[in-house]
Assembly symmetry: none
Amino acid sequence: MIFMSDVANKVLLIVLDGASDRPLGGTTPLAHAKTPNLDALAFGGINGIMDTIAPGIRPGSDTSHLAILGYDPYKYYTGRGPFEAAGVGIDVKGGDIAFRCNFATVEGGKVTDRRAGRIDDTDELARTINTKVKVPNIEVIFKRSTGHRAALVLRGKELSAAISDTDPKKEGLPMKESHATDGSPEAKRTAEIVNNVSDQVTKAIDKSPINIERRKQGKPPGNAILIRGAGEVPHIPPFEERYGMKGAVVANAGLIIGIGKMCGLDFLPVIGMETMSPVERVKAKVTKALEALKTHDFVLLNIKGADEAGHDGEMERKTRYVEAVDDAFKPLTSLKDTLIIITVDHSTPISLKDHSADPVPILMNGPGVRVDEVGRYNELIAHKGGLCRIRGMDVMPIVLDLINRTKKFGA
Amino acid sequence: MIFMSDVANKVLLIVLDGASDRPLGGTTPLAHAKTPNLDALAFGGINGIMDTIAPGIRPGSDTSHLAILGYDPYKYYTGRGPFEAAGVGIDVKGGDIAFRCNFATVEGGKVTDRRAGRIDDTDELARTINTKVKVPNIEVIFKRSTGHRAALVLRGKELSAAISDTDPKKEGLPMKESHATDGSPEAKRTAEIVNNVSDQVTKAIDKSPINIERRKQGKPPGNAILIRGAGEVPHIPPFEERYGMKGAVVANAGLIIGIGKMCGLDFLPVIGMETMSPVERVKAKVTKALEALKTHDFVLLNIKGADEAGHDGEMERKTRYVEAVDDAFKPLTSLKDTLIIITVDHSTPISLKDHSADPVPILMNGPGVRVDEVGRYNELIAHKGGLCRIRGMDVMPIVLDLINRTKKFGA
């Protein structure tokens, strides 16, 4: 980092998704990996540990990204439905009612397979649903996700998320009728719409070509959708309005792209990523993020691979991935006039194969930061740095102060 | 600590009551004492300092234990009455109205001695009160404490703690009538019951053998009770319900036993403790706690002696006691598959002879913790550890995360 001015004018916030860990054999992937570039950024910056939500609270990637972007997840995280819908690429709007769905098999009025034999080829079914299912004055948006999963959004006036699921949770039972859980007329109306949509879907797709084909092959058809996890899409104050900065997100995980968009960040896709190796992807994303700093004041770059290795419990793979990421970070060490924050949204310990609440490392490098004595970037040493222990919701206030975009409280 | 698995399945939470201090001559009892076992546990664990309530808030043992057990004292600490009653061994229930009482001397309608000449032999008086004092539909439970002190509990429907004391606070004045402080019918009714109980008590014990004897000896009789500090016993969600762990408490301080029971911990007494030396007691309690880990998932072990030495302002005694405690902790250094937390509920500085808000040291030792470079257990060095500075209310969330009993917030 070459300091050309005393105050940065751009912000690059990098989230190494799930990269931090618990020690195994006395070390962690971040501590064990050779990371000369991350270490140089730590050496020239201020370091600390961070509870993305609060001590002991195990974050999802959704709640932690909201917190790091300064949106209190206890206020804005309204359930799985809205974030699942945003994650599969539906451009959700504040007030939409969103659901998670499964394609399922219903025969003789009963759910015989809640995942329709883990059906995967659901493009045609989703197209048919979007074409045929109609509700007066309500926009019905359906989108497939991976495997048997999908998301549903209802957009219109006088809707409510206070309704129950149609998913009976067990096979051998009929689909449930959705009903209002709070007695309001909006909830009653929304439950009726959900039941209506559910009926229309079954009629629309039961005899679709793919299901006829599946029946021929002895596979359970995907001839119904189970609807659950109703949530109202939160009205999130747009990033630019809130912070006075034009922001962008560079990511390839649907959930992160969805959250970025919900917060008003411009999503900047990397073209051709499908055919790249994981290492090439990281490099392409770093390049994209650096380009984005020319057009945007703030860039969120999410890098997902370490989290996946953590979920798979693969220490060696996680370590090597961290090294590849570090290699891609070489250009960051000579970036000018930019406040770089490198952190993690949650630990994904190899030992748990799931998220944990162990605090994550955070470094801030750029003009004006109080450089401390920490010279390595990892979760075992970061607590010795000048940031001590902060929370996810502290990041944006600290950033805004460092780049001198904060108003004084008092005189 | 021998790591047999990546995640602990038992939790031992040890509170060295009042053990931390402010430096005198540059050192503290914890820092000055030779504590090889505590130091070994610190060396193999993660360390930090803790504000049991919040920075600068001086905790009682009651409020701090509530916080460390994850029960917000600002919500569950409903005054001295309920905790005093629990502390003297009344099995209080949520909704009970509890009071602190003094035995006093009333002559000619006036309180002539608020402590009845510091009367100490009150067993017979308490028995008489429990036998003779009757209120329709209300259970009246009275229990003596040390010296002239006692506790009173009213159990029944439509009671309220919004009532005033009968204690005139000054001698030479008549006892006060209790009255409602919020105008509610429940408070009015409860004040009437308190006045009724107060009258009945005086009638019941004025001429009791012990008081006849005291008058003969020229001592002021304990012929009345002054009632104060009304509080409603809080409805505390039971520990097992809240955390999914069967918990036990090993302690000999009444207040800690009472709080443990109120939180749903099984109280496991150490038999024969009355005849043991302080050092023998600590060893017996450690043994009991280790046994308890076989039948319970979570054990709270409270060790009181350092607090007493602090209240008495005895540096040397406090230091030696800490060394005796350390000696009793030898078996902890080879404990398997257990998350050990060693902390303090509040500082009791020699210089103050009372509690202070100076943060206390905390260590966590067990599978999965991020071992830091701190190699001694004391309040002067703990801040260098990986926990940095946490709060009492953070302990249980961090513990639940470390033992993998936490749900994810988000996806």
